[in-house]
């Protein structure tokens, strides 16, 4: 459970920093009058949707970190046999990076009020995300064909589970991306779309980051790191 405790420590730092800006030491019973007389305490200038996404990313991160916690606890058992990661995953990773880049492109284009660029970026991002998902399914099929079934070893179970959870999050993102694309299609005012495009981009970058961490875990790259952490903690 040390991974989730570390994660919570980070969340606590962020929350503590934010709270420290909120004048929690004020004596509100003495502060009667318009709030202008007393600095601090305003809402953030970010749009609500962006903060909503931020909170959601924290929740989704907690979910993945908990899966990772479970993974690192379960992998110590004697029956754990790491499975060979299909090569296809590297290709999929590349496609997911492309998807993220395309959405970043779209985001930049929205800032420049370039409607065509936004559309191209969104479509390219969406298409490559779909290809990524198809690639993941193909990887599942390859593993299945090679006899690595979901229940035959906990390492296999975690592989299917983690990729599935990540894929489901991406599928949810595709719904949001589809709605944004439809909005851009209908409307000529790019300024109204900028926020939606930006939110999709942030979510895509987040999922790319999650995928890289999951991939590191599944390929065993992070084993050394995990071992170092474990030694430090014990």
């Amino acid at each position: 459970m040390s991974a989730i405790i570390l994660f919570l420590a980070v969340i606590a730092l962020i929350a503590g920093w934010w709270l420290s800006q909120q004048r929690l030491t004020a004596k509100p019973w003495l502060e009667e009058g318009p709030v202008g007389q007393f600095p601090g305490g305003d809402a953030m200038t970010w749009p609500a949707a962006k903060i909503g996404l931020g909170v959601f990313l924290a929740v989704a991160s907690a979910l993945f970190v908990l899966f990772i916690s479970a993974y690192s606890m379960r992998m110590n058992a004697v029956d754990w046999r790491a499975l060979p990661v299909p090569r296809l995953l590297w290709l999929n990773t590349g496609v997911l990076v492309l998807s993220s880049v395309a959405l970043q492109w779209s985001s930049v284009a929205a800032r420049r009020h370039d409607a065509e660029g936004v559309m191209i970026g969104l479509l390219a991002g969406g298409a490559s995300a779909v290809i990524f998902l198809a690639g993941q399914l193909l990887a599942w099929q390859q593993l299945n064909a090679a006899g690595y079934f979901v229940a035959s070893n906990p390492a296999n179970s975690f592989f299917y589970l983690l990729t599935a959870v990540h894929g489901l999050h991406l599928t949810g993102g595709l719904v949001a991306l589809g709605r944004t694309t439809a909005k851009v299609w209908r409307s000529s005012k790019i300024a109204d779309m900028r926020l939606s495009v930006e939110l999709c981009t942030i979510y895509w970058h987040f999922l790319l980051l999650v995928w890289l961490v999951v991939l590191g875990l599944l390929t065993g790259w992070t084993d050394d790191f995990v071992n170092i952490c474990r030694q430090l903690l014990s």
Binding site: L8, P28, W29, A43, V55, L66, M73, A151, S157, V165
Partner: protein, 592 residues
Amino acid sequence: MVDIPYDRIADIPPAEVPEVELYHPRSWWTRYVFSQDAKVIAVQYALTASAIGLVALVLSWLMRLQLGFPGTFSFIDANQYLQFITMHGMIMVIYLLTALFLGGFGNYLIPLMVGARDMVFPYVNMLSYWVYLLAVLVLASTFFVPGGPTGAGWTLYPPQAILSGTPGQDWGIILMMSSLILFIIGFTMGGLNYVVTVLQARTRGMTLMRLPLTVWGIFTATVMALLAFPALFVASVMLLLDRLLGTSFFMPSLVEMGQLSKYGGGSPLLFQHLFWFFGHPEVYIVALPAFGIVSDLISTHARKNIFGYRMMVWAIVAIGALSFLVWAHHMYVSGMFPQFGYFFATTTLIIAIPTAIKVYNWVLTLWRGDIHLRVPMLFALGFIITFVNGGLTGLFLGNVVVDVPLSDTMFVVAHFHMVMGVAPIMVVLGAIYHWYPKVTGRMLNDALGKFHFWVTFLGAYLIFFPMHYLGLLGVPRRYFELGDAAFIPPSAHSLNAFISVVALTVGFSQMVFLFNLAWSLFKGEASGGNPWRATTLEWQTPETPPGHGNWGKELPVVYRWAYDYSVPGAGEDFIPQNQPPRATQVVQGAAS
């Protein structure tokens, strides 16, 4: 509807609320059923939670019938008994208390108390309710599937939760997991709304330190729930896969019905870690909104500002943070590394400090207050006493050496019913008596309310105080019948019968409350906008019940904190949060 735009020459800093396009319902369906108005969603949440809560109440009667009079009721067998305890626990903790405090009170009170027109994401808020309803329906459906609901106990520990021999192994456990997963998805949608609304939609002048403690409690509890529920989600998904696909995340190798099972190598302890990583914060997810609400009830009905407001806020935040570091005190006898127990015992005892600060501050708020013993106040006082009682036995169980012999006895059952059953329910009931006039425009009947309080309060003590004694005797929990064990004297059996009679009485007194709710809706005395003469914004709405958009044409502006009661020199014994200082001075001048 357009909110006040930012006026550069005003002495009030930027409008914290940008212009809002409010959703307008077009038909009866979108107004009352698929509504995006937080107030309607709140009532939907509250009604659904109460309905499934009634099922849990009936289950508790059946359990008490069996425990009090074993062998008398042939329609209760051992399997059913296990199913009753499981469903009673799960419904009460998650589908009733969590949903009612956050989905019910959170939806109703947050926008009104912070001076917003609605939640920031009304559509997501609506989805949240419908997913919750689906979760409740899936849960309720387990009563009708072959094999019935799961009987694994509300903690659903593997391996027994999914093995044959445990009732509900076919469908019950699968649907229970599915229902929990749905609940968490629905809650996350709602939780995002509660958090972002408090962060972003506060009206002008409503700084964090001017928020009523109710909002602080619900806000902190929501943040905790958003971080804790994923642990239950992970545990549920993995247990579901163990059951459905035969994976071995949690399942060790074992012999089932004389045959070696397909499972092997899994760790039941891992499940317990995940479950309690959610399960302990869950206690405070229920308790913090209760703390907040009770602070407001006490202050309003004692006509006194809350004592130590800052300390109350800090304590809420501190409890929220600490509650993530105590989970393994539920696992002293689980076989985990024994020295962990001492770490978790220490953190558990530390959490008593901010909690005690809160209790002292409630008592000091009451001290020399102008106490009006109205029904909400009675319930608030009942809460303080019950919570202290339940908290003290928590100190027993938090210590490893005391916990070990008391584990899995009725002492534990008595402890958690006092601290997170009776105490929060007291607050729920007090809060309903307090805010019912705002929701409906009518007062609840006072005589019926007092009857309801005294039967519930005294009855709860008659039920749970003797239960501690049974636990000290060593009477185990979750047992269908006690048999002829030598260490259980005949008096324990008579005590069990006594508890059952009281439990049935208290249960039926809740019907009086339900009658009161229905009767007062039509026949209750008209309440007016602010019957308790309270300061917080929800009592200052132009209409009662508040209309769509809450505030008429203009949002309120806040000039003071939420607890200006009995201010010396003021004309009235309360000053609403939206009353400008000048107006107070005029009143003060008139008074002098």
